[in-house]
Symmetry: C2
Subunit: 349 residues, 2 copies
DNA sequence: GGCGGCAATCGAATCGATTCGACCGAATCG
DNA sequence: CGATTCGGTCGAATCGATTCGATTGCCGCC
């Protein structure tokens, strides 16, 4: 028994069969370095004969120090993340820009509990998406590992390239729009604010301890116009959560306008209003955030349109530049106000 | 200069500083094997002092032969894949079931051109999504590498576990529904059929050379009822493609009913009909496929509802079982007819 | 005809951990 | 009290490739 039948062939086996050294066989496969055609053919023939599938990516990545993998870390469970079109748009952009030439996107989640793949997965670079301070541990680990990081809409961290959105200013614009229409009694439906992701009324103390960067920024923007704004914290960005929030806010002592921190939440609030027999925008105005063109005929949602795919593209480009040894600059994107038909002046009387 | 400042610390450095052997240091980190508390503390302290981020995943995966990565291979560009809610649902299901405990999902694309990450990325198992025969090369490589494979809605391949959907039978049900309503002049809008993904009229020769498994299966189902069915091949599953197809089919000599192979395409066809001044279902009936509950008020799309998330879950479970050394069985899912208000009898006269 | 230079190939070190078998002292058991 | 575990630790082999430096011929040039 000279050869094990069960074991998968290695480059060494191929080289032996081809009658060349391992190094030459490696060169034949990688194409780097001078190899005569005859030798290459011999090696490839031997590989075919042994049913060799090519160099093992694991060994290669150990030696080369690169794995061809770009990780995308989200706080949500993946299934929640996929539900929000903005996340999908972001991934879309990243994939579009960075997902070429044999590099793959590794989707990871980090709930801050430590056992996530962030610390154990091989990767060349990381995009942090919608991450609060909970990821400090992971970020520290990645930094120690020397893995380039790009963060989309997160607090600025040392050594992490930032891709920003004007969350605060944009929400201020939307809030000002409501104020200009004459609204005084306004409520907000926020994205998750704290780690637990529990839904419930928005009390002051949650705002200071919160780690939901985007939610807090947008809340600040609303507070710039309505300092005493109260509301509801959703436990995720979905229509269902919006309905729950809408019912909670509109059932008793309803405000005349609702600022939802995402379009999905806004759609949910509108649904809730309909369920309660209220009309939009006559009885209650609703503004969203994102601009996902949710098809909720006959409504045309008033919202802040943000460039989701472009954010992803920028992140992807930054990653590529970091990997190439460059030093890309932070980018900030701005949202554009879209006046739809879900806002109007408050009902008089 | 005993120590290089630039080089990242290794386990060996940590062990040296802690005054223990490398093997002991390894045990201290991995937790496998007996290590006294005192020793473990010494090692962790040394690691902290050296700013050591923990064992290198690359080296670990080489030695252990596992990388904690499950790849999901799609034919589409990622950005196209993300656009279709069914793909997202599928990923959702896979992530839900298999994306736990430090394993990540690696998104790869394979256009059949060979330079994709399929051959170079480290991975423990693979889910093939919506793949035609174009992936034969990749499948062969993965098989040689001994990587377990699960294919969702693809031609059955040796050594690849199949997760199936009753595409043909389901479409037959939808087509029969139209026939029962009295429709004779019916057209189909298919998903991409060949590698080029070009849009255009559906000629017979494209059906034989086609590699789009799902599209062809659904087409066969429609042909079971309408043998001479003609139509249009879309270049992707999107509302825009549906509109293009709808305009092409309805502008001149329109059929009384259209079978769209996805809900997005169906929505597009409806939009096209509206643009042309036709009413649905009075002037033209439209059926879809998927059951994504597209919000196209006031329509309630007649469609075949398929369990997208469940398909993903099944794939995820199968992967886990394969990795555990088990031999899971193929699974077949069935779609359920949903009668909406986009189909009716053909206009008389 | 001697020699510099280049293409082709090879040997050996290296990447950074995991893991198997050996070893040793202390506690347990008969 | 001697033999046997067993917990704790260490050395060395191993995972499978890449890559650097050295070694061969062989050709062409002066």
């Amino acid at each position: 028994m000279g050869t094990e039948a069960s074991a998968r062939p290695t480059l060494a086996a191929v080289a032996a069969r081809a009658g060349v050294s391992v190094s030459t066989a490696s060169l034949a496969f990688s194409g780097a370095g001078p190899v005569s055609d005859a030798t290459r053919d011999k090696v490839l023939a031997a590989a075919a004969a042994l049913d060799y599938a090519g160099p093992d990516p694991r060994a290669r990545s150990l030696r080369q120090g690169r794995s061809g993998i770009i990780a995308v870390v989200m706080e949500d469970r993946l299934r929640d993340a996929f539900r929000d079109p903005m996340n999908v748009a972001l991934l879309d952009g990243i994939a579009d820009e960075a997902g070429v030439g044999g590099v793959g996107l590794l989707l990871l989640t980090d709930h801050g509990t430590g056992d996530s793949g962030v610390s154990v997965a091989p990767m060349d670079a990381v995009v942090l998406v919608g991450c609060g301070t909970r990821l400090d541990d992971s970020v520290a680990t990645l930094r120690r590992r020397g893995i380039p990081m790009v963060a989309v809409e997160a607090e600025h961290m040392d050594g992490v390239l930032a891709i920003d959105l004007d969350n605060r200013a944009a929400t201020r614009v939307a809030a000002q729009h409501l104020k200009d229409l004459g609204h005084v009694r306004v409520a907000v439906v926020t994205l998750p604010i704290d780690a637990g992701k529990s839904a419930g009324a928005l009390p002051a103390e949650r705002e200071t301890s919160g780690t939901g960067f985007t939610a807090l920024e947008r809340l600040r923007g609303a507070r710039d116009v309505y300092p005493l704004l109260g509301g509801w914290v959703a436990s995720g960005s979905s229509i269902e959560e919006g309905i729950a929030a809408g019912l909670a806010l509109l059932e008793v002592d309803p405000p005349t306008a609702v600022i939802a921190q995402s379009d999905l939440l806004a759609v949910g609030v509108i649904r809730a209003a309909e369920q309660l027999g209220m009309r939009v925008p006559d009885d209650v105005s609703v503004v969203g955030f994102d601009g996902i063109r949710a098809d909720i005929v006959p409504y045309d949602l008033t919202t802040m349109v943000q460039p989701g795919v472009e954010k992803g593209r920028a992140a992807g480009r930054a990653i590529l530049e970091l990997l190439a040894g460059g030093t890309p600059k932070s980018v900030g994107f701005t949202s554009v106000f879209h006046a739809g038909n879900t806002t109007a002046g408050p009902r008089v009387g």
